[in-house]
Amino acid sequence: MSELAGVTQGAGRNEVLRVRDLEIGYSTDRGRVRAVRGVSFDLEEDDSLAFIGESGSGKTTLGLSLVRLLPQSASIAKGEIVFNTSSGGELDLTDVDDETLRRFRWRECAIVFQSAQNALNPVMRIRGHFADTARDHAESEGVLKGRALTERATECLRLVQLDPERVLKAYPHELSGGMRQRVMIALGLLLNPRVLILDEPTTALDVLTQRAIIEVLTELREGHRFAMIFVSHDLSLAAELADRVATTYAGRIVELGDVEQVFYHPRHPYTVGLLDAVPTLAGEHQELSSIPGSPPDLIDLPTGCKFHPRCPYATDKCREKDPPLIEVAPGQTAACWHWEKVGSDWEARGGERHEQDANRA
């Protein structure tokens, strides 16, 4: 099983993004933090891919690296990030000059951050944000000013169920957290990007506002041809919005597959651990269990598989050799030497909990 096994081969639907063996590290005074340790994946045109991981999984670093927005202390050690731009050409973000990168950002790939709290310039009205974005992409997008800009901005704001009259002339502090998050999404749509990245889009929001954002994102995907990558610790968000799910641990993808495969037929102990730790509202009272131990320290990582200190299936082989992503089913890969055993245990007890709900899908 070669390292690339985890990546769907062949052209398939036209591909927007191809990431190969990406490695990113931070230099801190306590040593080098290896945040991303060899990640590879593909993204089709209207695909929706979720990266689920907890603290120390490197998921936010991965998200930021796709638009080269890593802080100064970070450096891309290895690997390539190749975008198929709307003008047809291929662009590898790991070696690109600043001006091309600037033009690429937001036109090809927009990003919405977690804390909408101060993602908007506090001393500038919302309209100013739309004007700035349009003006600095005038060469590639054509000049968008005055009435034309207002119309385009109004259209985007309507898409996210916001009242354009009130919002455009408001300052960021005059809007609620939920409204600011929707303004960010509207801004993201302004230049019709091919990829929209969302870093923990709903974490800082309340349940009802979160529901509004999820509905906006679901409708947008049906109407528009853009791919979506979102990064979250919240499995239920992946269940809502994702076509494919990747669970990440200590800087690597440990399992990747379609949303039904990963939720109903998980093959990696960490994914199983996550599924067992999340309380659900529906159904009776379930026996839930935590994953023992604590999140990995990305400076001195354990040998072999990084999850072995917390894994019930750990054997000597796990402690020595770090397993690659192995194909466990068509389109599903998992980085675990004992994925068959994990699978059979899950299927044995998994029957009564998940399967019959899925049949109603």
Partner: protein
Amino acid sequence: MSRTPIELEHVSRFYGSGSQQVRAVDDVSFTIEPGETLCLVGESGCGKSTTGRMMAGLLEPSDGRVLYAGSDVSKLPEEEKKRFRRAVQIIHQDPYASLNPIRNVTQILSAPLRRHKLVKSRSELRNKVHELLETVGLTPPEDFLRKHPHELSGGQRQRVSVARALTVDPEVIVADEPVSMVDVSLRIGLLNILLKLQQDLGVAFLFITHDLAVAKHFSWEGRIGVMYLGRMVELGSTQRVVREPVHPYTRALISALPEADPGLTRNKERLRLRSPDIPSLLNLPAGCPFHPRCPMYEEGLCDTDRPAEDAVDLDGHLAACYVAARELGQEDRIPESSRIAASEARRRTA
């Protein structure tokens, strides 16, 4: 330590005055029975934390009374007041702010033990500290004695916070979102510790969270109170509130919550709200504060009087909604003025 119920009787808390007055908590009443678990659930700004602090005697109510063993806490004799003070403890949300960065674990745990002379000698102190660390699952205790907060992970800090609350043998612990900043995979570990405290030591919990699923898991045998803009809109046993929610706001919360199960969550029937945004506490809508967003809004009925906490009372399962009261045949509990306004509105539109 004998167990006594703690009751909030029409308790309110206001900030500012005149037109700028904010009613963070508005006329809330409930009782925590010994050994019971009550979850307060609601969106941010609904007043659940403020209510928790008033229950813990850390915040003076602007109106209404907190009763400990039946008598008003502010009027208790000094000795009784001290007993109440130690009977209710609090655990906070942010692991990074709940422990003083300068003091190590031993200092944090020994301060209350020494202050209230709960230990006679240094050796007894050390044993008690070891015992506390073991109860909260920080084993082996020796590893943690000298540690400062910045040398501990988020989950470990929350456990020290629990151990600190246990030093004075509390009857009730107010847990303000104790797990929301802890990784999902570690949350259950912390919740199970709290549940074990309840079984072994009979500690009662006022558990505050914005996540209904966590509330359902933690308080399966107990009760849930749903709060909205400073008011208690529904209060009842967890299993009934989750299965047959009465108040439209509770229904909206249940229907809106995403589930970690694609088949289930994508086919869940969603309650469409009339507006996604919460009105500000500065100018609350008339009558029921939820009416601008409520799918079951009825002109006249919902925007005339403010529904009382027990507008609907299905033998203890309360809800503050007149539309629900009418549907459940408790029309007699709706005040006259609302009924008239509702019928007029119907005539106008008919």
